[in-house]
Amino acid sequence: MQKATSTKTSTMRSILSGPLFLLCLCCLLPGCVNLKKVNDYSAGSLKSLKKFEEIGYTFNRACLDRCELEQLRSLRLRAGDCNCSLDQQADSIALLIYNSVKGYFEGMTRISDGKVTDYKPDALTKALKEGSFGDLKIGKEEVDSYAAISTILLRATTDIYRKKKISKYIEEANGPVQVLLSAMDFNLAANLNGKLNVRKQRLENIYVSLVNDSLASLYDKTRAIEDYNSATRGIELRQKQLTTFSKGLKTIAAGHQQLYDSRNKITVGELKELLTQYASDLQNIVDEFNKLKNQS
C-alpha cells in the first residue's frame, strides 16, 4: 500500500515537473504570446523611447533661439520681449504623450518579466518540516515534493494568467499606442524638425547680409562663413538625432502592430523570430542615437 502511494507520488511529481506539462498548459491559451519575447520587445521599446530625454532640443529652446537671432539681426543690445508660451505648451503636450507611452511600456516590461512570477516557496518549506503533527506524519520527501510541485503549479498558473492579460492589453492598447506614437513622431520629426529648418534659413538670411556687406573686411567675411558652417552643422546634428529617434518610434509602432496582428494567428516560433528582429532593430537605433549624441 505504502509502495503504491509512493509510486503514485513519484509519477505525479515527474509529470508535474516535466516541461511537457508546462508546454501543454501554455498552448491551451487562445493568444499564446511568448512572454520572454514580449519582454525583450517592451524593454527595447522603452530604451529607445527614453532617448526622448536626451534629444536636448525643445520647442521652447527653438523659440529662445529665434528671439536671440531677432536681436542679432536688428543689432539691438537689449533683448526684446520673447513670448514662448505657445512653444512651452507644445513641449507639455510632447511630454504628456511621452509619459503616457513610457508608462505603458514600463508596465508591459514589468508584467512580462519572468522574475515577476519567480516565487520563493522558502517560507512554506521552512514551515513544513518533517515530523509528526497529531495523526499526520510528514516525511522529508513529501516536504521536498510539495515545494517543487507547488512552485511549478503556481508559476504555470500565473504565467497563463499573465499571458491572457498581456494578450488583452495588446489588443486594447494597440489603437491608442499607434495614435500616440504617430503623434509624437509628427511633433518631433515634422514640427520640431521644421522649426530647425526655419532656423537654418534664418541663419542664412543673417549671414548672407554679412558676407555681402561691402564694408566688411575679408577676415570678417571668412569668420562669418566659418561661424555659419559651424552653426549649420549643429542644426544638422540635431536633425539627425530627431530622424533617428523617429525611426525608433516607427519601429516600436510596427512591433506593437505585429504583436496585435499575430496575437491569435501565427505560431510561437514565428512570433519569436519577428519580435527578435524588432528588438535587434531597436538596439541598433539606440546605438545610432548614442553615436550622434557623442558627436554633439
Binding site: F59, C63, R66, L86, D87, Q89, A90, I93, A94, L96, I97, S100, V101, G103, Y104, G107, M108, R110, I111, V116, T117, Y119, K120, P121, A123, L124, K126, A127, L128, K129, G131, F133, L154, T158, Y161, R162, K165, Y169, E172, A173, G175, P176, V177, V179, L180, A183, F186, N187, A190, N191, L192, G194, K195, V198, Q201, R202, E204, N205, V208, S209
Partner: protein, 137 residues
C-alpha cells in the same frame, strides 16, 4: 484657421518655408541694390516667422487628435500595474501562509513558547505585507 487640423497646418508651414527658401535663393544668386536686398531679407524673415508659428501651432493642435488615446492608454496602464501588484502579492501570500503553517505546527506541538513565537512571526509577516501594499498604493 479653426477648421485646419494639425497635419494641414504643418503642410502650410512647409509651404511658407519653401517660399522663404525661394526668396533667400533669389537674394543669394542675384546682384541687388542695398535697398532691394533689405526688402527681400525682411520679406524672407516675415515668411520664416509665419512658418515658425505654424509649426508650433500644429504641434499644439495635435492634442485634439490624442486626447482620447491618452485617456485610454492611461487606463490600460493602471490596469497593468494592478495586475503586476496582484502577481507580486502572491509572494506575500506565500510568506503569510508559511507563517500560518508554522503557527499550526506550534499548536500541534503544544509548546507555549513555540506558539508565542509563531504568533509573533505571523503578526510580523502580516504587518510587512500590509506596509508594502500601502507603499505600492
Amino acid at each position: 484657421m479653426s477648421t485646419l487640423d494639425a497635419r494641414q497646418l504643418n503642410e502650410l508651414a512647409n509651404s511658407f518655408l519653401a517660399f522663404a527658401q525661394a526668396v533667400g535663393d533669389y537674394r543669394y544668386e542675384n546682384t541687388l541694390t542695398p535697398a532691394e536686398n533689405r526688402e527681400l531679407s525682411d520679406l524672407q524673415w516675415t515668411l520664416l516667422n509665419y512658418s515658425d508659428d505654424l509649426f508650433t501651432t500644429s504641434a499644439v493642435l495635435v492634442m485634439n487628435d490624442v486626447a482620447d488615446s491618452l485617456a485610454t492608454i492611461d487606463e490600460i496602464t493602471k490596469d497593468i500595474n494592478k495586475t503586476y501588484r496582484k502577481l507580486r502579492n502572491i509572494q506575500k501570500a506565500i510568506n503569510v501562509a508559511g507563517a500560518a503553517v508554522t503557527l499550526g505546527a506550534a499548536l500541534f506541538s503544544k509548546n507555549p513558547q513555540a506558539v508565542g513565537k509563531a504568533i509573533g512571526g505571523l503578526v510580523k509577516t502580516w504587518k510587512e505585507k500590509e506596509d508594502e501594499e500601502e507603499e505600492e498604493a
